[in-house]
C-alpha cells in the first residue's frame, strides 16, 4: 500500500492549478461583463472590479448605432449558422448512409477520397472560391456562406462512425420488406436513429459557422449583410480611440453571449461530443 502523504499533496496541487486555470478562463469574460456595464466616462477613470449600472444604456447605444449594425449582424449570423447547421448535418448523414448502407463500384474510392480531404484547410481554395462566386453572382450575399457546408468531410466522418456503431442493416432490410422507399427509410428511420449524432454535430457546425471570419470577410461587402465577426473586425479597423469604450465592450459581449448561453445549456452534450468527433475543426 502507498502512503497517504504524496496523494494529499498532489491533490492539493491539482486543485490549486485547476482553480488558477479556471480563473484565467473566466477572468477575461468577467472583466468584459464589468466593463460592458460601465459608461465611457466611468471607464476612463480606471479599473473597477464591480459591475456598473450602465449595461442597458450601452445595449441601447449598440442597438441604435447605424455604422455598426450589431443586431442586424446577429440576425445574419443566426441565419447563416442555423442554415449551415441544418443542411450540413442532413447531407452529411445522407452521404454517410449512402456509403454505409449501399454497395456500389465507387464506394471505396468515394470513402477514401473523403478521408483524404478530412482536414484540408478551406483557405487554400479561397481564391478560386472568391472568383467562382463572383462569376455566379453570389458575391456579397449570404448564400456562399451556407451552401458549401453540404460537403463537410469531418461531419460526414462522425456520422459514418455513428452509423457503423449503431445501425444494424437488418433494420434497413426490414423497412424494405415493409415496402418503404429508400428515401423514406432514410428520412423516417435513419434520421431519428442518428438524432444524437446530428444534435452534437449541429451544435459544432453552428458554433463554427458563427465564429467563422476568414471566408465571410472575403465574401461580404455591404454593412447590412455583415455577420458578427466581420463587424468586430471593422470595429478594430475603425478609429476606436474616439469611440465610446462602454459600447465597444458591449458589442464584444453581444457577439459572444449567444454562444455562451447555448454552451451553458448544452455543455454536457458538447463536452461528450468533443471526444466522439475525434477531428478538430
Amino acid at each position: 500500500m502507498k502512503s497517504k502523504g504524496p496523494n494529499v499533496f498532489r491533490s492539493v496541487f491539482a486543485h490549486v492549478t485547476l482553480i488558477i486555470l479556471s480563473f484565467m478562463c473566466l477572468f477575461f469574460f468577467y472583466i468584459l461583463f464589468v466593463n460592458a456595464s460601465r459608461s465611457h466616462a466611468d471607464l476612463q477613470k480606471g479599473f473597477s472590479a464591480l459591475p456598473g449600472a450602465f449595461l442597458w444604456k450601452n445595449l441601447s447605444n449598440v442597438a441604435n448605432d447605424g455604422s455598426f449594425p450589431m443586431f442586424r449582424g446577429i440576425l445574419n449570423s443566426l441565419i447563416v449558422s442555423g442554415s449551415s447547421a441544418a443542411i450540413c448535418t442532413y447531407f452529411s448523414a445522407l452521404t454517410a448512409y449512402g456509403l454505409y448502407a449501399y454497395n456500389f463500384k465507387l464506394k471505396k474510392v468515394a470513402f477514401t477520397f473523403i478521408m483524404a480531404i478530412l482536414v484540408m484547410p478551406t483557405q487554400v481554395t479561397a481564391m478560386g472560391f472568391l472568383r467562382l462566386i463572383t462569376n455566379m453572382g453570389m458575391y456579397d450575399s449570404l448564400l456562399p456562406l451556407i451552401i458549401p457546408s453540404i460537403a463537410s468531410p469531418s461531419v460526414f466522418y462522425f456520422m459514418y462512425s455513428y452509423l457503423e456503431s449503431s445501425l444494424p442493416m437488418s433494420l434497413v432490410e426490414a423497412a424494405r420488406i415493409d415496402g418503404s422507399g429508400e428515401f423514406r427509410t432514410f428520412n423516417s428511420i435513419i434520421l431519428p436513429i442518428t438524432k444524437p449524432a446530428i444534435a452534437v454535430q449541429a451544435i459544432f457546425t453552428f458554433v463554427g459557422s458563427w465564429n467563422n471570419y476568414f471566408v465571410p470577410a472575403l465574401v461580404i461587402q455591404s454593412k447590412t449583410r455583415m455577420t458578427v465577426p466581420i463587424l468586430i473586425a471593422t470595429l478594430r479597423g475603425a478609429d476606436y480611440m474616439n469611440f465610446d469604450m462602454g459600447k465597444i465592450y458591449t458589442m464584444i459581449l453581444v457577439a459572444i453571449v449567444p454562444i455562451i448561453l447555448v454552451y451553458l445549456l448544452l455543455s454536457k452534450y458538447i463536452i461528450a461530443g468533443v471526444t466522439l468527433g475525434g477531428v478538430k475543426e
Partner: protein, 316 residues
Amino acid sequence: MNAKRKKIDYSKWGYIFILPFFLSFFIFSFIPMIDTVRYSFFEYYRSGLKEIGPNFVGMANYVKLLKSDMIKYGVNTLILWVIGFIPQIVIALMLAEWFVDARLKIHGTQFFKVVIYLPNLIMASAFAMLFFTMFSTNGPINAILMSLGWTKEPIDFLGSVWGTRSLVGFMNFLMWFGNTTIMLMAAIMGISPDIFEASELDGCNSFQRFFSITLPLIRPILAYTLITSVIGGLQMFDVPQILTNAQGTPNRTSMTLIMFLNSHLKSKNYGMAGALSVYLFIVSGILCFFVYRMTNNQDLDGSKAAAKKAKKEKRG
C-alpha cells in the same frame, strides 16, 4: 426471404445519396482549386482600377514568393504556434492525468471541464478584440498592474514583438487546452484499468506510471493531436489579424501565412494569391496524408475501433 433472394440492385441509391456531397465539393472546392492552381502561373493583379493580365508567366510567382517575406511569415506562424502549443500539451496532459486519477479525488470535475472548454467556443475575432482593448496601454490590465504597483509606466504589450507574439500564443493556449485535455482524457480512460492495477501492485509511483505507462499508450492520440494542431496552426488567422488590425505589427513580426494570403486576396493579386495557396496546399496535403494514415490505422477512440473490427469480421 424471397424478396431478398431476388436481390434488387440498390446500388444506384448509393450514388444518389452521396451525389449532393460530391456535387457541392466539386463546385465549391474542386473548381476553385483548379482555378487557383491555374492562376498561380499567371501575372494577374489589379493596379488601381486597371487590371493587369492574365499573362502567362510560368513559375515566376513561385520564385517571387520565395524571394518575398513568405519564409519570414512561415517562421512567424511557426513561432506563434509553438508558443501556444507547448503549454497547451503540457497542461492538457497534466489535467487529463489528474481527472482520470480516482485517488486524487478531484472535486467538481464537471465544473472544471465546462470552464476550461469554454474559451474554445468563443468567437476568436471577438476574443482578439477583447484582448486588444484589455491589453492596450490604457486598458484594464495595465490599470490593474499599476494599481498593484507592479509597474509604474503602462506596458505597451502590443508595441513589442514578444508582447504581441506571447499574447497570440496565450490566446491560442487558452482556446485549445480544454479541448486537448478532454481528448487526452478519453484516450487515458481507454487504457485497460488492469494495466494500472498491475503497476500499482508492482509498486509503481505516479510519476513512473505516467511516463512509462500512460504516455507510451496514448502515443497515437498524441501524434494525432500534434498533427491536427499543426494544421490548425497553419491556418492561424483570426487572432493575429484582429489583434494587429491585419498589419502583423510590430514590423510584420506577427504576420501569419494566411494573413499574407488574405492581404493578396484583398488587393486582388490573384497570381500571387494562387501561388501562395499552392504552397499552402502542398504543406497541408502532406499533413492530411498523416491524418489519413492515422484515422485509418489507429484507434482514436473506443467506438470507432469496435465498429471497424465488427465490420471486418462481417466481411470475413
